[in-house]
Subunit: 498 residues, 2 copies
């Protein structure tokens, strides 16, 4: 075909940082989300689906992950001059809905939401600008029973999708305890909460990185600063040794039981009212979960969890998968976090001026899918493809389509080859590519005799792999049946134990 002189052709490219999902990638995610939705439903949570687009005003500047201030949203100006943006999470739209429909919704309002969110950040390996979240939140429930319920539900959801007990831990902490510790360490003054905010930010991020930096690295960041392996220097919070000691003691406060951990935390927060309130909340959560049968083998108090998100005001939770996988360099490492959340009592207040308590969880859908793949729960054996009806004689297309229609009417996944039928080899290659278990063949001769050939491609592949040339030639994987017996014969092969 001659190249015409039209302007340069558009590039057929997925935009940078986005991706396409094919076949099982789509259905596996949909099935996992349906399983999670069933758990959420049982807990009384109702679905909410907001649009992808919000006003920039409604989204506000509550961008998650204060570690990365450059992270932004995809935004544009409307014809009316309004700024619109793609949602960056499912929590900000919930806060908007809770404020907008506060007179219509039942309160407390338990809702779940599943769908894509968008981040205008530099794409990187495994980091995409559109990804799925799966959230559940309770708005309007001041009691930490709501937080405990979220943790229990998360535990059920993980087990429902196929993460066995013992392969995950939900760790619970409380921002108020951390604030109490900050008070004791002298970097939080309840009478002037803005003072030392910068230092507290550094402390928070340092604690969050303990797994990676180790105790020495965190101590350096609490003090003057830290020189990393590449020679970069990160300025520290400038705490004195005894101040740092308080913070380090907090991180090491985890004990065998929730009660022991709480007791140790109570010592650490000492005179701080906020800290004391926080410990009491943790004790209540532990007691509630215990009574519901969720022991420390599933949900436990752990002061090491801080969660980067600036807007949390009380309990925070994180679900971690504890089994080991091999990383890209072949080293064993723990799979890590797949969900996180906490209490955020100030998000709805932005709109209404009135404080509305809220707590919730967000599951990282792609990470949880990756975990299920790593555990062999999904994506193992490729799903069988359709029965492929080949086209020997293009004038008899109606015959082939009638065969396909019969198979489909019997509930059997089937398709005719609809490409150029000239090269029969291409048709068998197509059947192979489609992972077809069976190919149906009917030439003019078979049609005249009222029969069809059924080629068992699964058996054929096994014979080809295992048998000698002589055995292969006898072709037992291909059988001839009467046209009228076609559906029954196909079903017999499909029902055969694999």
């Amino acid at each position: 075909m001659p190249q015409d002189k039209a302007p340069r052709r558009p590039r057929a490219e997925t935009p940078k940082g986005f991706r396409d999902y094919f076949g099982a990638e789509v259905t596996e995610r949909a099935e996992m989300l349906a399983q999670i939705a069933a758990v959420y439903h049982r807990y009384g949570f109702d679905p909410l689906e907001t649009a992808a687009v919000e006003t920039v005003e409604a989204l506000g500047k509550f961008l998650p992950d204060v570690d990365r201030p450059n992270e932004g949203v995809f935004a544009w100006q409307d014809e009316d001059g309004d700024w619109l943006a793609l949602r960056y999470d499912l929590t900000a739209p919930l806060a908007r809905v809770a404020a907008q429909f506060r007179n219509d919704l039942p309160f407390p309002y338990r809702r779940y939401a599943m769908g894509p969110v968008w981040r205008n950040e530099k794409p990187g390996p495994g980091r995409f600008r559109q990804f799925y979240q799966c959230d559940a939140d309770t708005v309007g429930a001041p009691t930490v029973a709501a937080d405990a319920e979220i943790c229990a539900m998360l535990s059920d959801a993980l087990e429902q999708v196929g993460i066995p007990r013992g392969d995950y831990l939900i760790r619970v902490n409380n921002r108020k305890v951390l604030n109490g510790v900050m008070e004791v360490a002298g970097i939080l003054d309840p009478a002037d909460p803005d003072r030392f905010a910068h230092e507290r930010g550094i402390v928070l991020r340092a604690i969050d990185k303990i797994d990676r930096l180790g105790e020495t690295g965190v101590r350096a960041l609490l003090g003057a600063g830290r020189l990393d392996e590449s020679g970069d220097f990160t300025k520290g919070a400038g705490l004195a040794a005894e101040q740092a000691e308080v913070v380090m003691g907090f991180m090491a406060a985890r004990r065998e039981t929730g009660a022991a951990t709480a007791a140790r935390l109570r010592e650490l927060v000492g005179p701080s009212q906020t800290g004391s309130d926080g410990v009491a909340e943790l004790e209540t959560i532990a007691e509630l979960l215990d009574r519901q049968g969720y022991g420390a083998d599933r949900i436990l108090l752990d002061p090491g969890v801080v969660r980067g998100l600036g807007y949390y005001t009380g309990p925070v939770f994180e679900a971690e998968l504890t089994f080991e996988i091999l990383d890209e360099k072949g080293r064993k490492r723990s799979f890590g976090s797949v969900a996180g959340g906490g209490r955020y009592d100030d998000l709805v207040k932005r709109f209404t001026g009135q404080s509305v308590p809220a707590t919730g969880i967000s599951i990282g859908v792609d990470r949880l899918l990756a975990a299920l793949r790593a555990k062999g729960r999904i994506g193992g054996e490729a799903a069988p493809g359709p029965v492929v009806v080949t086209v020997m004689d293009r004038d008899r297309m109606a015959d082939y389509m009638a065969i396909v229609a019969e198979l489909r009417a019997a509930g059997i996944r089937a398709e005719a080859y609809l490409g150029n039928p000239k090269n029969f080899g291409n048709q068998l290659k197509y059947a192979d590519r489609r992972a077809a278990p069976i190919a149906i063949i009917q030439g003019a001769d078979e049609a005249a005799r009222g029969v069809v050939q059924i080629k068992d491609l699964v058996l054929g592949a096994k014979i080809a792999a295992a048998a000698s040339h002589e055995e292969w030639k006898s072709q037992p994987a291909q059988t001839e049946v009467a046209r009228a017996d076609l559906v029954a014969a196909v079903r017999r092969i499909l029902d055969r134990a694999p």
Copy 2:
């Protein structure tokens, strides 16, 4: 609470032209799409999910609905200077994928896609800027067997979701026949296809509006022009009377059977090769469908279908629901179109320079849902809400949560009241709002005696509606059971025939 002097609070508003979906609105759509996906799957179609975002370059200017040239996309410029946009349909991303992955995908490639699309157009009543589409397309199949298959699949899908046979019709036409008629009418010159393009556009839109404008209105638009009731004048195509007669004859060509319609069309297109090819394609489609058992009671040839979309090159289809509903003014009218599609052989060529045949269908998800509601197939009886465990004594929250956990573990949807428990009336109002079938009550007295009260709210509402005051006072809808028998007692009430 004193108003602080912070800057103006953001408005809690769904952006103009967008909407939020709550509860059953979300699950009903998800269930309908899952049913359609099952049909598509049986036909051998694989799911594809592309991102919401495409490059503007990849989307091109193939905007649907040439009637509304102002209609646009939501677009913005990336930090790298690339223009990105939200997809306006699911076909343009498919064309991009088919070109980009042409060496990896099986061809013919049957794919389905479900998800939101976005249009930057003025919102109006019932017209939203984000809405769902549900598409199925076959790329790489030149044979009209692919078109026939799409029509059969659409028929199956409509019946699967609950539109009974007889309540819908899939009407099939062919752009080539229309082009043949245009040739005969002297407004299409195969040697110079750009000539008369403007006139043909007017003719196409006039035909598309026959239901609304009637024969007289269409004749006016084919000729000098049409003055509408408001006094606005629309310039016509300027056809001479005998030219207009050819076009009108085409629209009136539908006969009792597909064969008779095809015969009449063959007369009309006379010497036009394109027209003759188009008629032959329609005959083949009718024959294929007939052999598969899809008669004219489900799928029929109808020259009245033209479909506005500029990019169709061959067969076009439209699914219409034929039952009557009452419009907003209380007048009976036929429900109308819920799906449409056709063959578009040039979309992939934009990227690769090589023509790739393609055909497909798009279901208007919201319209189909509205149809199912109008038929009473969904949304009739409100789904029962969760069992609500009330809180009589806030110090015994762990007891109430343990009751809820037991119910949930037994697979019963349940929740505790997590608002402020002080006012018990509010708790019962909450249970009512949640459409709770049962409320569980346990005060200190009941706890001491090891029992709970089970309030049958469904039965209670019936008694309140029907019975005398005396009967009501006896409160047979509330029973006391031993705490250990709670789950069994709740299940007995829930399992009761409604």
